[in-house]
């Protein structure tokens, strides 16, 4: 691995870490209703929304009301995204006259976007009108992210609550997340992206002449059953356009990841150069990382937030380095065919299949690790073509439960479930009643935390097993052998953890994959949100126990290591057998 790869990783991590504290503190002010600097330009919009909706912002909700409001809002969103896709043919802002999206695909896309998964069975430029992209997908990019952030804030209120049956007001958390945090950040990022070449227009697609026309042979069969070969000349190229930058900004910031175009951020119109690439990569991890600090601020002890951020970094950094290393090592069979894969000042080298020249191997592999650590799932290179170990890293990062950064809000509330499990196991070992932040962890809390920790792996393994033993599952494979199994395992890991990235050789735009994937994404989102809110409600009602000599500190090095071990052990024990029959076997085959 060349020195420049280390420098690239270091630059990325340093800029990210520098942004954690300022943004984290800002978000804490937003959620606590303290002045955040944007109250003047945007406060009227917030008040207007509450007045029109009949919401009393100071009226807190019980966890059940909070959950009901959330589910109603998300169900309405799903209905609208589905309807927009089905009706887009007769709606405005459709310059390419795209017809209705088929029902299974529309269903999959609707669930995918409300659940913050943003799995792409659809292909943006050939399937979705500008209106559907804006009013359907862009809106859900915002509000599904805001939903995750709201659940996190509710859980934090539960943790610090003082024997009250309330965890905040969903409408307030939703509106504030959207207006004060996601919207301003997206606005700035979108404008910078346009300045770099990301398209943003309502004009129809543009046709340009090719400098050198290209021909191909088209084979057709006539009525008599004879094959007729005809040479067709292609002299033009169609450039797909659209309001892309505004959607890509929130797609990255809200850990959504669903592309405006089919090939996502590998498309030069989504990600034109090294600067746009750096900004989009930072945007992927920015809010999930900063929320750790917000958490620390809101519970009144920033060390608690830093300990969780440290846990995430301890797991993330070695895996990212491993991915970059594996991609630089390249492919021995290709090297043996008279190909130069050695990095130099003139080229990236390494495994360049499925990667773009302007990013090279390093920036592609950093992105792949970041997008799967966070539950983003956007790609700037094709993960299906990664080396076996390079592909194992993104797959395993998802299988850890999307808690290493994870989704905005959902990553941290997922990690807090692991914290509770870790506290509980530690409590068992020393023979004391486990507690976290002065709240006793008892049977009900453990049940909720266990559901949150175990539902995703159960979904992943079950759906992968179903796809592996049915013709509907295996007929979609894009690669032979163990790599085909990896494609299915990756699909299951991605939908079962609401990530949305893919080993895209698997052709998932079929009724089977659209339906099963849709159900899995739906369960893994809402059957985690409900127990999380129930836990928040239960914690809120408990009285705070004063810190004593028997309290296990949850901000020190020892606990951080213990939390790392808990996350890694659960992830490893659950998925090692499956990983052994996919990427690990493939690695042994390739390098035997």
């Amino acid at each position: 691995m060349p020195a420049i790869a280390w420098i690239q990783m270091l630059v990325f991590l340093l800029v990210l870490m520098a942004l954690v504290k300022p943004l984290g503190a800002f978000m804490a002010r937003v959620y606590e209703g303290r002045p955040c600097g944007l109250n003047k330009p945007l406060g009227w919009l917030e008040r207007l929304t509450y007045r029109a909706a009949g919401v009393k912002p100071n009226q807190p909700m019980s966890w059940k009301t909070y959950a009901l409001a959330l589910l109603l809002f998300n169900a309405l969103g799903g209905l609208v995204v589905y309807s927009l896709q089905r009706l887009q043919g007769s709606l405005p802002l459709n310059p390419e006259h795209l017809g209705a999206v088929p029902p299974y695909l529309a269903l999959n896309t609707a669930i995918s976007f409300i659940s913050n998964t943003n799995w792409q069975s659809y292909n943006g430029e050939t399937t979705l009108s500008y209106l559907t992209q804006m009013l359907g997908l862009t809106v859900q990019n915002f509000v599904s992210a805001a939903t995750g952030m709201a659940v996190l804030v509710a859980l934090i209120r539960g943790i610090r609550g003082k024997q009250a049956d309330n965890i905040g007001n969903f409408w307030v958390d939703l509106v504030r997340s959207t207006l004060y945090i996601l919207l301003p950040l997206s606005f700035i990022l979108a404008l910078i992206l346009v300045s770099q070449g990301v398209v943003q227009t309502l004009s129809p697609y543009k046709t340009v002449a090719l400098l050198q026309p290209v021909s191909y042979v088209q084979s057709t069969t006539n009525a008599a059953g004879q094959t007729i070969n005809k040479t067709v000349w292609v002299k033009q190229q169609v450039l797909p356009l659209g309001p892309a930058a505004s959607q890509i900004a929130i797609k990255q910031l809200g850990t959504n990841g669903g592309g405006f175009f089919g090939v996502n951020s590998a498309h030069p119109f989504e990600n034109p150069n090294a600067l746009s690439n750096l900004l989009e990569m930072l945007a992927i991890l920015l809010i999930p990382a900063a929320l750790c600090y917000t958490f620390g601020c809101m519970v009144g002890d920033t060390r608690q937030g830093w300990a969780i951020l440290a846990t995430m970094m301890i797991i993330f950094v070695p895996l990212m380095v491993g991915c970059v290393w594996a991609e630089h090592a390249g492919n021995p069979t290709i090297a043996a065919s008279g190909v130069n894969q050695t990095p130099s000042a003139l080229m990236s080298g390494g495994n360049m299949e499925g990667k773009e020249t302007r990013f090279g191997v390093t920036d592609s592999a950093i992105w792949a690790s970041a997008t799967t650590a966070a539950s983003n799932g956007s790609v700037n290179s094709m993960l299906d073509s990664y080396t076996p170990l390079g592909g194992l890293v993104p797959m395993w990062l998802m299988e850890l439960g999307e808690v290493i950064f994870g989704g905005v809000g959902s990553g941290l509330y997922g990690m807090l479930m692991f914290v509770i499990v870790a506290v509980f196991i530690a409590g068992l070992m020393v023979g004391r009643t486990p507690e976290y932040m002065g709240k006793k962890i008892e049977a009900f809390e453990m049940k909720m935390a266990t559901i949150c920790v175990l539902v995703p792996p159960a979904l992943v393994l079950a759906s992968a097993a179903i796809a592996c033993v049915t013709v509907m599952g295996t007929s979609a494979l894009g690669n032979p052998g163990e790599h085909g199994f990896s494609e299915i395992l990756y699909w299951a890991s991605s939908t079962g953890n609401n990530n949305g990235s893919a080993f895209a050789g698997l052709s998932t735009n079929t009724p089977f994959y659209n339906l099963v994937g849709g159900v899995v994404m739906w369960i893994s989102r809402y059957f985690l949100i409900i127990p999380t809110l129930a836990l928040a409600g239960a914690l809120a009602r408990k009285k705070r126990v004063p810190i004593s000599s028997g309290t296990l500190p949850t901000h020190d090095v020892l606990f951080t290591c213990w939390l790392v071990a808990t996350v890694v052990l659960i992830g490893a024990l659950t998925f090692l057998p499956a990983l052994a029959s996919g990427p690990i076997v493939e690695y042994l085959h390739l390098w035997r």
């Binding site: 929304t49 009949g54 990236s348």
Partner: protein
Amino acid sequence: MWPQIRPAIVVFVILSAITGLAYPLLVTGIAAVAFPWRANGSVVTNDTGKAVGSRLIGQYFSEPGYFWPRPSATSPVPYTSYSGTPASCATGSNSGPTNPALFAAVKRRVARLRAANPTEKGPVPVDLVTSSASGLDPDISAAAAYYQVARVAKARGLPATEVRQLVEHFCRGRLGGVLGSPHVNVLMLNLALDRLSSHKTPRG
């Protein structure tokens, strides 16, 4: 349940109007004023004002007098950016690292490049024999451009040093010496090459 229905609908409508209409339209408006060329696809025109491509979207070249781009997995022809169906727009090969089809394709490309560039005896730069993620990669590595200098110069009857200087002119290093990867924009290089040739041999 009923008390939450009204806020659900009203908040949804308002947030949709803000994030789904006002925000993208505002960004579109500012982009149209501040970055009109980039917001509309970075379209490049030739001397006569005809649109001949986008600076950001690659095109396919197979004539010896042009620099060749990377392989592209799009169909029906390489570098199809859009032609109406999901099967015929930007895509990667998605070939796995042990797929025999990938190894066969690489062998074929190596043989073709060796035959077309007989003076280059060393191994072929990897980006010239592997397909890109988008299938629309506008760039090749600097190494891949230098690999083709002798062939292009011979086909055009230009001195190799002149073609090499042109490649150097179009080489883009890492951003700030750190980010991204060294590359050359193939379409811009080939357009400049055409201009250079037309100066040498004025037509008519």
